[in-house]
Structure formats: structure tokens, C-alpha cells
Amino acid sequence: MKVHTGIAVSPGVVTGPALVLGSENFRIPRKFVTRDAVDAELQRFHAARDAVCHDIKGNEQLVSSQLGAQYGAIFTAHLQMAQDPRLIREVESLIRDQSRSPEFAVSRVLRGYAEQLQKMGDRYLSERALDIFDLEKRLLRQLLGESREELKNLTEPVIILASDLTPGETSTLNTKFVLGFATEVGGHTSHTAILAGALEIPAIVGLGRFLAGVSGGETVILDGDHGQVIIDPSDERLRQVEASQVRSRRVGERLGRMVELPAETLDGQRVTIFGNIEFPEEVRQCIKRGADGIGLYRTEFLFLSGNREPSESDHFEAYCRVVEACGDLPVVIRTLDIGADKVPQLMAEELSVGPNPMLGLRSIRLSLMNTQMFKRQLRAILRASVHGHVKVMFPLVSTLLEFRQAKMILMDVMEDLEDEGIPFRRNLQVGMMVEVPSAVILAEEFAREVDFFSIGTNDLIQYTLACDRSNPTVANLYRSGDPSILRLIQMVLRAAEKYGKPVTVCGQMSSDPRFIPLLLGMGLRSLSATPQAIPRLKEVVRNLSISEAVRISQHACSLDLARDVEHYLMGELSRLCPDLVDEAGT
């Protein structure tokens, strides 16, 4: 048994026979052509190039229609390379002026580009060298009349182990037979990795040299969750994987049926389960899994991906896509929560992070400093509010003054819109994230002024226990089950109840099935979770009664160590929903 570890780029665990694809070493038969053959050779080059362009267009259409236009764009770029005037000029010149063969010329010119890109020491550009090799292979295959037949004539399921798969090859993989793939080269942002994720087959890249010891036909476990390729696994390991696959299939089928069923406890209490999203495209994943709306729409991507400050219409278009996809279901838009770990290039200058970014200028603090930017976002949110059921919430509020200032700016924007005759919903609900201990301590005061609370457990835990979970030396302090966190959540729920304001919990805690009985027992009736977690949460809710949840939460709150709380909750979950615990592998 041999275990190789690489970069996991697409999740899932599969077992099957290995199909090994070595590096394709095209043997270039001749470097020179005779003088009088130059015209014919030029024609051969152009014919090969035309055929390649035709193939790329085919890939582009296939991928665009199956995976979406953003993936097809990869091939639009490849097509531009195949039609590149510099490439054509340089190849022609080698053939015409130096009597080189088209094979040699193509390889020489393209490898020259790839080499220069790799030399630049820029990870992003050096991965683009793979796109150039893809083009080289395509052209050489046409010129030499060779192709990777292995991939075309599959008749049974295999796991592909390759030195590299080009994006073109990846896009045409027959997912009926290709269970997954692992490659020696590649990184997170390589196009092959991106396509694997879109095809939803397990994949691992960047394994380094490992093919020498594999001849093909060996049994392989490809663990796309942990980035491991296990060659000739022990019988015990195989049995473990098979058992867990059977279980996860069974659980998967049952969870699939959850979509249609309401999130209702055994004693008839309806619980609202929202989805957390970052990109407009993710709405579909939430709706598909039966979400009651969007409980947390993070808007940072507009700032992080566009590389310039988004305009009001950028905001507006993105919000409308989400709001319209949700129909009558509510969408809670959180204003910019940037700074600390996520600093967009465009703000890097003005946003001098300081020695302690988590305690620095971030989130609502940044918005209040930069009111023009804040107003642009609020205008777009208000304009989108007439297209559906929109709510707005401010992140990381730590004082009442901050909330009042943010709300005042919102009122200003409303007035502006009114003056301009632009429609918006005046009664739009305005809430806040509860993520800072000060906001919990003053929860009653806040509850009088907000329309709703959303408890962001990730930051709340980090600020309460004063630990950065990305720092391995203190990460053990970061525990959702810490009694202090449970107490803080209770304080918020009590304050909100007193003033009749709804509370949602978002953050990782509410995506973790173990905490659902506890949270419901404390009185929470609304959760917002990652789309993938929604069916599991529903299952827990449907196997639980409120009276039982109350009993569980009372016992959990009587324990004084995070470890004991989490252990107890795990035990209760395994009693309520044994499959979910097995699946978690604990």
C-alpha cells in the first residue's frame, strides 16, 4: 500500500482500477524540410491549426452548455492563442526562413513562450504555461496524427493517474467511466482543477512524481476530500472506504428526499433554515436543497474579484440576480465585511492593516469611514428591495453609535432615492450581526433599535476566547461548544425575546448538526447554513422534539468544559441520527 498526498481540488472518494497516462512524449520525426517543400509544409501547419481551432470551438460549446459560460471562457482564451498572430508569424518564419518542420517550429515557439512564463516566477502566469502545453499537444497531435486513444475507448470505470491532463482533455472526460483523476502537476487555480470541480468528479493535482511506481490496473483509492491517492490499498482500508461509501450513498439518498419535506420537529415546531451564499450562482444550490431563503448574502466577492471598486450597478445587478432567484423568499444582504484576512488589492493602500488586523479597521468600521462606498452599496440594496423580499444587516457592530450611524446613512440614502424618484422599500428591515462580545453584553439596548439579530459565531468565538483559529498553537481554544459561547447565545436570545425581535444563527456552528438540538432547546427557531449542510440540518430537526431539545440544551449548559459539551452533543446526535455521525467519521 502506497499513499501519495497532493492538492485536493474536487471532493469525493472513489475506488477503482488505475489507468496510467504517462507524459506524452511526442517524437518529432524530422527537424528540417527541403526547400521546395516549404509551401506544402506551411499549408500543413495551417490545416493543423484550423483543425485545432475547430476542436477548441467544440470544447468551448460542450463546456459552455454543460457547465456554464464562465467555464467555456477558458476555451475562448485557448482559441485566441491558437489564432494568435505572433504565434503564426513566428512559426511561419521558422518554416519559411529556416526550413524547419512544422512540428519542430510549433514545439520550439510554444515551449519558448511557456519557458518565459515559468521563468517569471509568478505562480499565476506559470500555471498558464499548462494552457500553452495544451495547445502544443493539440497541434502536434494534428500534425503527427496521434491521439490519446486511451481516453476515448473506455469501456469500464477507471481512475486516471496522469502526469498531466490538459484542460481540453479534462473537459471531454467521459464521466460515466472516469471515476476521478490525479495528476503530478497542477495547482489550485489550474484550469484542469477548476473543470474537475465543475464536473463534480473527485480530483487531486500537484502530487509530484508518483507514476513511476504504477503500471496500471492496480486498485486505487482516490480520496478527493483529503487529497490522497492510495495505490494497492490494504483490504482493511478498502473495506473501510466501501463501507463508508455505502453509508454515504444511503444517507445521500435519504437526504435527497429532505428537499420536499418541511423543517419541522416531531412536535410540529417549524424551524426556518436559510442558506449562506457568497456568489449569486449559489442561490440555486440553496433553493435546490429546500432553503427558506438566504440568511446571509456575503457581498465581499464584488470587491475581491472585480479588482476595482464596484459601481452601484455592479452591486445592483448582483443583488437582483439573487433576489429574483429567491422569488418571495427573504434575502438578507450583509454590507461589506472586509478587512482583516480579506483585503482587496484596490483598498490595500488606504487600508493600512495595522499590527492587529482582527482588531483593526474592518467591516462596518471601514464602511463608516468610507461613506461614498457605503452609500453606493446601500443604494443598490434599496433599489433591489422592490424586486423581492430584501433585508439588510451590518456586520461587526460593536457599539450602539455604530449601528445608529449606519442606519442614519441608510436614511440619507433613502432620502436621496426619494428625491430622485427611484423606487425602494421604505419598510426594509435593518438588522445587525452579533459577533463582538460588547454587542452581546448590550443586547437589550440593541434589541430596542434593530429589526433582527444574526449571530455570527465564527467571529464571536474568536473575540470571546481571544484566539485566532488559523493559528495552530492556539486553535484548540476555538470551540463552538465553549460554555461561554453558549451563555452569550442565550443572552442574545433572551434580549431578543423580550423585545420580540427574531434571531438567526449563521456561521459554522449552525452548519454543524451536533449543535442543532442545543440551539433549538435554547429557543432559536432560525438557522442559516452553507447550502451543502441544509439537508442534514433538516434531518436533525425532523428527528427531534422541542421538549427533547430543551432537555439537551439544559444539560449541555450545565457542563463547564467545551470538550464535555461537544462530547455530550455528539452522543445525543448519534442517538437521534446515527447515520449523520457515522458519515462524519467519528
Binding site: A73, A77, M81, P85, Y113, L117, F279, S305, R308, D314
Partner: protein
């Protein structure tokens, strides 16, 4: 070129990965729609904007100031169109791959 315009402009590279595949792809597509020659210069190197390889090898990082030069009958329109791509930060609605 008689009667042809030559337009020069300074542009700043905004995308955080510099001029990577997606901006390059957009630039080539845009430049191809004009008959004028369109070039970008940076750090003593000059790239034909109609050539993806030229642009890749220009290796213009985020923050770089490039000199755009358009010459030909539709130079003004070409310079405007290329300038717009830079000003918009090469944003594509939604998020881009590449």
C-alpha cells in the same frame, strides 16, 4: 499611414493577478474589432494587443502603468474601448474563471 491618428494613453493595471488570462482574452477580443494597430508598452517591452502571447509575455503586474498606443483610422475609438476595459478593471458580471 497618411491621415491616420496616433493616440497615446497611460493606463494602470488593476486586476490583482496583473494582466492574466481573462483580461488578456478581453483585450484581444476588443482589439480585434479595430483595424488600427494597438500596442501596450511596459518596462521597455511592447506588446501587440491583438496577440495573447505578446500580452502574456508582457507580464504586467497589478499596479503597473502601461502606455497604450493606437494608430490607424479608428485609433480614437480603439483607445477609448481599450481604456474602458482598464477602467472597468476587466470586471465580468458575476465572477470570472481564469
Amino acid at each position: 499611414m497618411e491621415g491616420a491618428d496616433v493616440i497615446q494613453r497611460q493606463l494602470r493595471v488593476m486586476p490583482e493577478h496583473g494582466l492574466h488570462l481573462s483580461p488578456i482574452s478581453q483585450l484581444v477580443r476588443k482589439a480585434m474589432t479595430f483595424t488600427s494597430s494597438v500596442s501596450l508598452s511596459f518596462d521597455g517591452r511592447r506588446a501587440d494587443v491583438k496577440s495573447a502571447f505578446d500580452l502574456m509575455l508582457l507580464a504586467a503586474p497589478c499596479g503597473a502603468i502601461l502606455t497604450l498606443e493606437c494608430s490607424g483610422p479608428d485609433a480614437i475609438a480603439a483607445a477609448d474601448a481599450i481604456g474602458e476595459l482598464f477602467e472597468a478593471g476587466f470586471a465580468i458580471p458575476g465572477h470570472s474563471v481564469g
